[in-house]
Symmetry: C2
Subunit: 271 residues, 2 copies
């Protein structure tokens, strides 16, 4: 299977691509990992201009020789290409999976909203840099190649689910890019935010008209928490109980997703 | 006029209350500034628990002896009392103005949505601490006491307008707490955020279904900008042009609002 890799947000180092490619070649010889040159471009904050990143995404999504699209990295920017790319997706784009998390949640949401392909919350190419990062990226490659269920988040239990970074989900709420998540288990995770901001984002989720029908909420990792002055007095469990009560849906406990080595795979919908 | 002061987010120092009170006594002897004891309470991040802050807000809003409610300070938390206080507002709450900005934009929005009283984006009691802060708070007191137009944002021009902190507006988008802003000029300001996050928030505003009918957008101060790594390559004017184009509304230029001494008064609706 040929897998095309693009970076709709920030660029990656060619060394990272080489490392991920080497691991894939050994562990998944049936996979041909093709890094689009756009992954290594740089323009200000981004891996090339919006036009360059949009064109690269369309290159791989619309190429029938690729069986899947793997996002190289997040880091802000995939929202800026939605309006350009979504109307230009060809029939070949419908027959493949799209794997990533964090900022590329914008693209996963937009694809899921339109029923295009199979969006999957899953580790990205740069996760190879983590300690035991080979295990991390193996979850994505195993799922893309042969629907290997070993890397799936263990609590999926046959129910439709989605997984989002909380800040990305908040940014989608109220826009037409947010899919209908009725009857889905909604998993959220966050990184590098102070807890007052996590609380404010949970307020939005709890009050979002579009999210009223979700089956329940699970909380992934919330790590690298930024300091709050004064210290935030509430636990994450307390915050989840509170906002899920306001939302009128059950808090279903923790989930194994997040910006970490243990990040598991959550195919959007039923796995 | 008796003006009741409450703190729906974080507490203030009694010295700040004394300073604001002393200035009001000299410059606006017709105003009797009454600081609710809740302003000085502290529980973790907040000026008292959610229940305490909600009760204090209802105390002043529902007391017919107060001609206006002045918010002491922002700092996160007013969203947490919306569900409790909004159904309990009595007839007396309809006959007064509510003045503040930043985090209390949550309350201003909820009041405006329900047509209760007169929400006003305006400097708060703690702004007395700024250099020439007396001029800053005088704008609010002059407006509340005698509809003094000297403190009004100079570009209002008889058109309906609202003013919000961008992060607060983003947190409201997609929820029933956001008012119908059709035909309003929308002013936004931001403080202490990196520009990638300002850009992401502008994405939400530009794509928000609820905001499609605004007459245009004006940008207030964006200050204390947090460092972006790598440096953000776009100017604020470029960003506003871009997202207003996506939104399909005119960018109407800068506005004199924000977290600064020069923050001007914007009564919600027509001034």
């Amino acid at each position: 299977m040929r897998i095309g890799v693009v970076a709709p947000g920030r660029p990656i180092d060619p060394i990272v691509a080489a490392r991920a490619g080497a691991f894939a070649a050994i562990a998944y010889p049936a996979i041909d990992l093709v890094f689009h040159p756009q992954c290594f471009m740089s323009e200000g904050h981004f891996a090339g201009s919006d036009a360059v990143r949009a064109a690269a995404f369309l290159d791989v999504a619309n190429d029938p020789s690729f069986g899947a699209v793997w996002f190289a990295r997040g880091g802000y920017g995939s929202n800026r290409i939605l309006a350009e790319v979504m109307p230009k997706l060809a029939p070949a784009a419908r027959n493949k999976s799209y794997a990533g998390y964090s900022d590329v949640g914008f693209l996963l949401a937009a694809l899921y909203t339109r029923g295009i392909g199979r969006p999957v919350h899953a580790p990205m190419a740069t996760d190879i840099n983590r300690a035991k990062g080979d295990e991390t990226v193996a979850r994505t490659l195993g799922w893309l190649l042969r629907r290997d269920r070993q890397g799936l988040e263990p609590g999926l239990a046959g129910r439709p689910a989605v997984a989002f970074n909380l800040a990305i989900l908040q940014a989608l709420v109220g826009t037409p890019w947010l899919p209908d998540l009725a009857d889905h288990v909604l998993m959220i995770e966050e990184v590098s935010e102070p807890l007052y901001n996590v609380d404010r984002m949970l307020f939005t989720i709890a009050n979002a008209t579009q999210l009223k029908g979700v089956a329940g909420v699970r909380l992934g990792l919330v790590n690298d928490i930024q300091e709050n002055e004064p210290p935030w007095g509430e636990t994450l469990e307390f915050m989840m109980d509170r906002w899920c009560r306001d939302m009128g849906v059950p808090y279903l406990g923790r989930a194994q997703i997040g910006h970490a080595q243990a990040n598991m795979v959550v195919p959007f919908g039923i796995a």
